[in-house]
């Protein structure tokens, strides 16, 4: 592990205390240490969501840290067992609420692999475009709120201006800003409208310029550098032991990205790099995420150029709703529609675990099917939940202010942590 800032406790238990303290010593004989346990949260302006931290402080130095979670536990996994496969999609997208498309992709991809349904190329590309837009969205929310925590308040306004442009794109394509239920088992629910591509291209053209402006604001800001350089270093081996993935792991120097490791969606045909840090401190994490935003714009640009034509959802009427125009002409379509909407399709018994690269790390979905029309178990391996175990390592033996900075750079989203 890298050198902690204050490895030794500075309390000298044998030293003679000054006169004021000795007065108190007469009153309370067992008071020998100065370790103070304070409670941060669950409502606190600096925690990203309702995270409660029980911190043992010696002066301002953190000696022990215990995260207490569960304050936004929604029982999503239990609710999913009660709903047909199609109805689970709006539930799971509300887990990690800034990266909603990723949860949909993990779940729909898992069910598609269970059924053995192949999705068509246009759907793959559309899904890839939406996923990368969501990745930029998630990183913008992270940057705005983390810079706000560190005191760079203007960043919030600039990042959310870009975020609103992305949400305009989502709204134009799907009708809803967040939680769009756009991905369905078999493809996407509807095609992108006319004019979406131009808007997306203009966004993709502007985004790297904006990222350059964010860097100009923060990269050489003395206060920002002092607060983030050399802070919160955890070694690569320790992060791998703790199961940490995503930008945290990449900032520590490990080039591990599921988009490159496993072939899913349209990523094998895209040409992009994976930014990797060197030291693994908070500054590296910041740089890695900013670079990832630029890489995502490259992916979106390439996907828009290569977007194939064709249908946007699979044709298999057993699992996919028929188009409404057919309902008035074909009796079979009507029966399929009725069956799918009321009971839903049945999936043969089996289980699968499918993982994708979310903005915070490996987002895995485990689906257990028991032959009925409702899943028997849906479990999400959420990256924030596992990454939170590294927080203690990041914050130990350094100042409280460094702990807040590390919490921002850790980027936990408590909806995903608590599910």
């Amino acid at each position: 592990m890298a050198e902690p800032r204050f490895p030794q406790s500075m309390i000298d238990e044998d030293a003679a205390l000054p006169t004021v303290a000795s007065l108190y010593d007469e009153l309370d004989e067992d008071r020998t240490t100065e370790v103070m346990t304070i409670n941060i949260g669950p409502h606190h302006p600096a925690t990203h969501g309702v995270l409660r931290l029980v911190v043992d402080l010696e002066g301002e130095i953190v000696r022990d840290l215990k995260p207490v979670i569960g304050y936004v536990h929604t029982g999503i996994e239990k609710s999913c067992e009660d709903k047909s496969y199609w109805k689970v999609i709006p539930f799971v997208e509300r887990m990690d609420y800034v990266s909603f498309f990723f949860q949909m992709e993990a779940y729909c991809g898992a069910v598609e692999r269970l059924i053995g349904l192949e999705i068509l190329p246009r759907a793959k590309y559309l899904r890839t475009i939406m996923l990368e837009l969501n990745r930029i969205h998630s990183h913008l929310v992270w940057l705005g709120t983390t810079a706000l925590d560190l005191g760079a308040i203007s960043m919030l306004w600039y990042c959310f201006r870009e975020r609103d442009r992305i949400l305009d794109l989502f709204e134009m394509a799907t009708g809803q800003r967040m939680h769009t239920r756009y991905f369905q088992v078999g493809g996407v629910i509807e095609d992108i409208p006319v004019g979406w591509e131009e808007k997306c291209r203009s966004f993709v053209h502007d985004m790297p310029i904006r990222v350059g402006q964010y860097e100009a604001l923060l990269d050489r800001n003395e206060v920002f550098l002092q607060r983030t350089k050399g802070v919160g270093i955890v070694s690569r081996e320790r992060l791998l032991e703790l199961g940490v993935t995503g930008p945290l792991l990449r900032a520590a120097g490990e080039p591990w990205d599921l988009r490159k490791a496993f072939d899913y969606l349209a990523y094998p045909e895209m040409d992009f790099n994976i930014p990797v840090g060197t030291v693994g401190d908070n500054y590296d994490r910041y740089r890695v995420r900013l670079a990832e935003m630029v890489e995502s714009t490259k992916i979106i640009g390439q996907a828009l150029d290569a977007l194939p034509g064709g249908p946007f959802i699979a044709d298999d009427r057993k699992y996919v709703l028929p188009p409404r125009s057919e309902l008035s002409t074909s009796m079979e379509s009507l029966i399929h529609h009725f069956k799918l909407v009321t009971e839903g399709y049945r999936v043969d018994p089996g289980e699968i675990y499918y993982a994708i690269e979310g903005p915070r790390g490996e987002l895995g979905c485990f689906v257990l099917a028991d032959g009925s029309s409702k899943p028997a178990r849906v479990h999400f391996r959420d990256p924030s939940f596992v990454n939170l175990q590294a927080f203690k390592d990041m914050a130990m033996d350094s100042y409280v202010a460094d702990m807040i900075c590390s919490l921002g750079m850790l980027d936990p989203i408590l909806g995903g942590v608590d599910r």
Partner: protein, 205 residues
């Protein structure tokens, strides 16, 4: 102007044109409504839309006077419950609400805090109404920032003292309000209670 410049009726008219009389209550309510200090409190998905998105430049909440978001409940007037209230968080929210000083208001934003939303299960409190009084419910999942602003404006009108009657005005159902538990208006007046009973009879008949 000097004393003696205007006399009698001219003086009366002159004063009437320049002075507004009102009750102290109304003036105070006007001041309260236009300078609300919201609490920075976000639970889940709705928190990204409010309080974060509505204070940003596109949906500026500051133009209604609510720019100063306060982190401490002791200094805040308004708590916006943005997100699902889980059973572990409910006592915490109640404690926060209790720590706020009168006069205070609560907006329940989104479907999850108004009624449990889509999560009808063991872990979510089915509506924050179950443990605290709420002044305004905003539907949506998540509601657009414009919807939150509309709800905020409605709350402002309620504070001023002229609440939007909404459908009750359109359908002549003036006496059908139900009052929340506690608070100064929790016991309806006799006429209002009778009107309520009458309205219920009419709808059920």
């Amino acid at each position: 102007m000097l004393r003696g410049d205007l006399e009698g009726e001219d003086l009366e008219k002159y004063v009437e044109e320049r002075v507004v009389t009102t009750t102290f209550e109304k003036m105070l309510n006007l001041a309260r409504a236009n300078s609300i200090f919201p609490l920075t409190f976000g639970l889940a998905c709705c928190a990204i839309e409010a309080p974060i998105a509505i204070v940003t430049a596109r949906y500026d909440l500051a133009r209604f006077g609510a720019e100063a978001l306060r982190a401490s409940p002791r200094q805040a007037d308004l708590i916006i419950l943005s997100g699902r209230v889980s059973i572990k968080m409910a006592p915490v929210v109640r404690r926060l609400y209790d720590q706020m000083l009168e006069p205070k208001w609560a907006i329940s934003m989104g479907a999850c805090s108004s009624s449990g939303g889509m999560f009808a299960n063991y872990a979510v409190v089915q509506g924050a109404d179950k443990f605290m009084p709420i002044d305004m419910h905003i539907p949506g999942c998540p509601p657009r920032p414009e919807a939150v602003m509309y709800g905020f404006n409605k709350l402002q009108r309620k504070i001023i003292g002229s609440p939007d009657q909404g459908w009750r005005q359109r359908y002549n159902a003036a006496g059908t309000e139900e009052w929340a538990r506690g608070g100064p208006a929790s016991k309806p007046s006799v006429e209002a209670a009778e009107a309520y009973e009458l309205a219920r009879e009419l709808t059920l008949a």
